[in-house]
């Protein structure tokens, strides 16, 4: 029983946490690709930037959360999301739009976004230095330990308040995104432009407005993902470096250009990571006494050593693309 609870904590909860973060990042990557047809490599940096906006707000108004009993970082999230959305639009106007208007090849856009990555990372390093920061310097991080009503269960399911808030947030975000894309005029125009940009122009769809909306959704979700991840652990200035590859893997696994695919892809990659570093030896331990002597149970029995976790998204990517070259949902060709 305890082994099972250990599994819930290490795989189900951790996988859902990291899967949610990847999903939110991948939605942005996939939407930008669907509308603007290029791989936006600076997306991870929008996450870092959003998390830093939240952090600065928490430093400025450390008491804000205590009024409503939620972590200040979470209370400040909407402002950070709005700021990041504005940054995303400004980046588009100053770097990507001029290129787009000159009809450059997609690879030039990708290169430009790598330039933007280096620029944002440089700025963050200049102003924030290399050290990690904790959002909970003035308040306590609530941790919930849930006891299971079984005799053999002495361990508890452990989930933190930021994790619960993350689950609530992504649920609301995904439902809102779905309603937006299927019910609103602008959301439908977004799908239309993803389907056929030329016909969108011919129909008189305001393509500039669609592009802005794309950056607003991508930027605000990136800020939310960055902040919620940093609330769960700490705010690391190299957040984007570690998260960029998994979110691209998630977007591709899900089928590029498909927001629902990006969500699925995010969880596939997230769970693959937690499952691959999970110590399966735990499940064998109860049988130790009944096993013959010559079987020596190892202490650690994981598919991948934790240090190599970063390779997991690639393996998943390759396996899924061999099985289904367009991703889980039928995506566009990169």
């Amino acid at each position: 029983m305890n082994e099972f609870i250990f599994f819930i904590n290490k795989v189900v909860i951790s996988g859902s946490v990291i899967g949610s973060i990847y999903a939110m990042g991948a939605i942005g990557v996939t939407l930008v690709f669907a509308i603007l047809r290029f791989a936006h490599f600076a997306h991870g940096d929008l996450m870092t930037l959003g998390a830093f906006f939240s952090y600065i707000l928490v430093v400025l108004f450390p008491e804000a959360g205590s009024f409503i009993g939620l972590p200040t970082g979470f209370v400040m999230l909407p402002i950070a999301m709005a700021l990041t959305a504005i940054v995303a639009i400004l980046l588009d106007r100053s770097f990507y739009r001029p290129l787009r208007q000159n009809n450059v090849k997609p690879v030039v856009m990708v290169m430009a976004s790598i330039g933007v990555t280096l620029m944002i990372q440089g700025l963050i390093r200049v102003f924030a230095g290399p050290s990690s920061r904790n959002f909970f310097f003035a308040e306590r991080k609530d941790i919930f330990r849930i006891e299971l009503p079984f005799e053999l269960a002495s361990r508890k399911i452990v989930v933190t308040e930021p994790q619960l808030l993350l689950f609530v947030f992504i649920t609301v975000a995904v439902i809102s995104l779905h309603l937006f894309l299927t019910r609103s005029r602008l959301g439908k125009a977004m799908r239309a432009m993803s389907d056929n940009p030329d016909l969108s122009r011919v129909s008189g769809i305001n393509t500039t407005m669609v592009v802005w909306t794309t950056w607003i959704i991508a930027g605000s979700l990136a800020a939310a993902a960055g902040t919620l991840l940093s609330l769960d652990v700490t705010l690391k200035p190299d957040l984007s470096f570690n998260i960029l590859l998994p979110i691209f893997a998630a977007a591709i696994v899900g089928g590029v250009g498909h927001p629902y695919g990006a969500i699925a892809g995010g969880f596939v990659v997230g769970f693959a990571e937690t499952l691959s570093v999970f110590n399966w030896a735990i499940f064998l331990r109860p049988f130790r006494d009944s096993l013959p002597d010559w079987i020596d149970l190892p202490n650690k029995l994981a598919f991948v050593p934790t240090e190599y976790k970063i390779t997991v998204p690639f393996v998943i990517l390759v396996v899924i693309l061999i099985w289904r070259p367009t991703g889980i949902f039928k995506g566009q060709v990169l």
Binding site: R185, K188, R191, A192, V202, G204
Partner: protein
Amino acid sequence: MALIKATGLHGGYGAMNILNGVDMEIEEGEIGVIVGANGAGKSTTLKALFGLLNVTEGEIIFKGETITNMQPDKLVRRGMAFVPQEYNIFPSLTVQENLEMGAFVRKDDFTHLIDQMYGYFPDLAGKRDQPAGELSGGQRQMVAMSRALMIEPSLLLLDEPTAGLSPLYMNEIFDRIIAINKSGVGILMVEQNAKQALGIAHKGFVLANGTNRFTDTGTNLLNDPEVAKSFLGG
């Protein structure tokens, strides 16, 4: 006053010139038909009228206003609609959503127009919630035309609306074009079925090498032995 009048259009793709002086003119509520061999510049002419091509010389006047090189979204607001030859629907959007996208520039309630489209094309009514990409070729053409009609255009540009369709659908599309025109919409269309199209045309334009070879009423062109010999297959 002419609904649309283009004179001496020159233009092309990049440095390559395709149009070498094209003239087009139809009156309000008329049907104009453009015919000509493959590569003659028929599609390019429609694109030039709709602002999808850089017109380097010549002038386009629509409802008395000069619109040369005006962007498509502005033309849509002025009442011009265009159905391209290919890729003329949003495949992953439902039929109904395709129509809604046609009405994107409208701020008013357009439900009656959607109903009117299902009236024109009863085939579509039962498929309104189906992705348009799943429909047959003929039905897709109906979606494409309906999408364009959602702005209640005064001029509808159609590029080969019957290309690749079975004779059954072809006749239905022709019938619908006539009905749409009867409701007061001016139509300028490119057609491969030159005889049938010129038969319903008030004005006909025979293009060759990016310029007008013959320009006359539809009936006169049909009866012109020279046109018949070189462009209508005898």
